[in-house]
């Protein structure tokens, strides 16, 4: 993608009177990090980038806005938030529209067709991270790593993020402005993670997840990074009644993780952010993708692709299969 075009468009949007700020990506402070950028005016747009390291789904910032009570005599700031989205991110926005978590006129969506993102952990395994921030570009089918004045070609297959191997929507499904050309979809890999889970017997599966949930430190980064975990009053924070105890042990950790997975069934748009941010390395993607697959297979429903769809968990069809109801 042409960075000049991106920055020019962003500068125009950020200086619009009806736009409060624009959320995009900027280079991080070290290694392979990229940081979210909040741009309030045309000048700020100069730091924006779009690269194979822009894995983060910024749609979470639409519902993470903290609003203090408006002082007497002042008007609330109702201006729009502009957001840069990849294909997967745009599905989160669409799902938010479906659920009325946001209204269409509250956002300006800048779509970035996405040729695929890098898993920075895979990249770091092959090319250890250093203090110097590195630059990565798309280079035909592959990637180009640029640091310390040196360019290294990195094969796509070695470092492509798992969510991108399975991605069916590289182009934004909703946008006001689209930057650059649409990208062609690519051949999908098999979902090895879900296949592995499905290959296990019930006991083995229980044992596997017990081991995983045991590692959970309950930092709630998975919940907070998730663009679709936006309840004002989360079941996990309630103290009266306490639905999930704060104690960190297998039972409570399991209650938390299962509650989150079920609340996301038919809503998760498979952006993989929960798994990316988990400090305990819990493979949350497998869990959420398994549920997404169940909903897709059983009900033919896919979240975040049609802004006019009825929310899956709030709709009923007379011909819904009921083969799991006793």
């Amino acid at each position: 993608m042409d960075l000049e075009q991106l920055r020019k468009t962003a500068a125009e949007v950020a200086s619009r009177e009806d736009v409060k700020y624009l959320v995009g990506w900027k280079p991080g402070t070290y290694g392979y990090r990229v940081a979210p950028a909040f741009i309030e005016n045309a000048d700020g747009a100069a730091e924006l980038i779009f690269s194979p390291l822009c894995t983060a789904n910024l749609a979470t910032y639409l519902t993470l806005v903290e609003e203090l009570p408006v002082p007497r005599g002042q008007e609330p700031d109702d201006r729009k938030i502009a957001l840069m989205v990849k294909g997967c991110d745009s599905r989160a926005v669409t799902q938010l529209l479906v659920e009325k978590g946001i209204e269409r006129d509250e956002v300006v969506i800048i779509g970035c067709p996405c040729p695929g993102m890098i898993d920075d952990c895979l990249l770091a395994e092959k090319y250890p991270e250093t203090e110097e921030p590195a630059e990565v570009k798309w280079d035909g089918e592959d990637f180009l790593l640029i640091r310390g004045g040196e360019e290294t070609k990195v094969a796509r297959d070695e470092v492509l993020a798992e969510k991108c191997r399975l991605c069916r929507y590289p182009n934004p499904v909703v946008s006001d402005i689209t930057l650059g050309e649409e990208v062609e979809t690519w051949e999908l890999g098999e979902d090895q993670g879900v296949k592995e889970i499905e290959g296990k017997g019930v006991d083995e599966r229980a044992e596997y997840w017990a081991e995983q949930f045991d590692k959970c430190v309950r930092c709630y980064s998975c919940r907070n990074v998730c663009p679709l975990c936006y309840c004002q009053d989360c079941i996990l924070d309630r103290l009266n009644p306490t639905w999930v105890n704060r104690s960190v042990n297998f039972s409570e950790n399991t209650a938390f993780n299962i509650a989150r997975a079920f609340h996301l069934a038919g809503r998760c748009i498979e952006c993989g952010e929960c798994e990316r941010v988990c400090p305990a390395n819990i493979p949350l993607g497998k869990l959420n993708r398994k549920l997404a697959r169940e909903v897709r297979d059983k009900y033919g429903f896919e979240p975040g692709v049609d802004p006019d769809a009825e929310p899956f968990q709030a709709s009923f069809k007379p011909d819904d299969p009921e083969d799991f109801i006793l």
Binding site: G28, T29, Y30, G31, R33, V34, A35, P36, F38, A56, T60, Y61, L64, E66, L68, C121, E125, E129, T130, E131, K215, V217, R218, C219, Y220, S221, R223, N224, V225, D237, L239, T242, N245, R246, S247, V248, N249, E273, R276, V277, P279, A280, N281
Partner: protein
């Protein structure tokens, strides 16, 4: 006992001598390391950079059961702390963090849980020879072979570990295993100094703390807090993975008719952390919460205990999902001062 050498071939024997005590050491968990109890008869490998979750839980467990009771019952059961523990291979930064946090837990009253656990625990550290990319311990008063907080320091000299007792507890441990040890000669000391100097050279990132503790309160309304916290998700990664973060909450929990009173790690980055019963929250947004986190470490703690409550381990920076980098934050603080 002066500095001693332990041939690495005798490492399993050394661990074997600790039988009867609970041994906690770094263990592999996929591609990440974490501290966990070692199974009997096993000798943990110590060649690792650092764990994602710090070993602070050895003295300050994420969930500590203070007492148990039954609905309708009259008995209150208090768990007895009597398990002798050895933490093997913790990094000097993490041990230093324990020494820093101990100042608080021994401040106005002796915290019975922390102090008792520290009495029961021997901390055997391993000097760093391969610091991580976001390590900055020398900037905040530590170093790759700092002994603060440790009972015994080990240095990996290749074929041997160099063992130096720091406290009486460390001396006692050396005496218990003395038949495995050899007296270290001058060369070993020189080798250690060389390795430590090399490790220090490898630490590239730095923070300038000069004037920060005194200057921070003056930056209360500075726009930098809005800038730093704009992308914050409000999760507990930075605080839960911080070896010096020590905030806790106490809650009563029930399971059927059984109940327990627990104290558990809390995080100042959580929304309900300072939420009052009235509904008022003195730290209503992530801006105030981020400001508090930095102020607590770099100003309030210095005010009270004369030491910065950050040991430069780099975990918050390594694992923040949105690249909030404490080194960069402190650079911005310095710029604003």
């Amino acid at each position: 006992m002066s500095a001693m050498l332990l041939n690495k071939e005798k490492w399993p024997e050394f661990v074997g001598k600790l039988a009867g005590k609970k041994i906690v050491a770094p263990q592999a968990d996929g591609d990440a390391m974490h501290f966990a109890p070692v199974a009997e008869g096993e000798a943990p490998a110590l060649d690792y950079n650092n764990t994602r979750v710090p070993p602070k839980g050895a003295l300050f467990p994420q969930t500590e059961t203070m007492l148990k009771f039954q609905a309708g019952g009259e008995q209150v059961e208090e768990p007895v702390l009597d398990q002798e523990t050895v933490v093997l291979g913790l990094r000097p930064c993490d041990a230093r963090a324990m020494a820093i946090v101990e100042k608080l837990f021994k401040w106005d009253i002796d915290d019975p849980y922390y102090v008792r656990r520290r009495e029961l625990t021997t901390l055997v550290g391993l000097a760093c020879t391969e610091p991580g990319m976001n390590c900055f311990c020398p900037s905040v008063g530590g170093g790759p072979a700092s002994t603060e907080g440790l009972d015994l320091l080990m240095v990996d000299l290749g074929e041997n570990y160099l063992l130096e007792a720091v406290t009486e507890k460390g001396e006692t441990l050396l005496t218990e295993i003395k038949e495995l040890l050899e007296e270290a000669d001058d060369d070993a000391g020189k080798e250690k100094d060389k390795l430590v100097a090399e490790a220090e050279q490898k630490i590239k990132r730095k923070v300038d703390t000069e004037g920060v503790p005194e200057g921070l309160p003056g930056l209360w309304e500075d726009p930098l807090w809005q800038k730093v916290s704009a992308s914050c998700l409000g999760c507990g990664t930075c605080t839960y993975l911080c070896p010096t973060c020590h905030c806790f909450d106490i809650q009563d929990e029930t399971e059927g008719f059984a109940a327990r009173r627990c104290r558990m790690w809390d995080s100042c980055m959580f929304e309900e952390y300072t939420l009052h019963t009235s509904g008022h929250n003195p730290r209503p947004t992530r801006k105030e919460r981020t400001r508090n986190r930095i102020n607590h470490k770099y100003s309030y703690y210095v005010d009270k205990f004369d030491v910065i409550a950050c040991v430069g381990c780099g975990r918050c920076t390594n694992l923040c999902p949105v690249n909030i980098d404490i080194i960069e934050t402190l650079r911005q603080v310095n710029e604003a001062l």
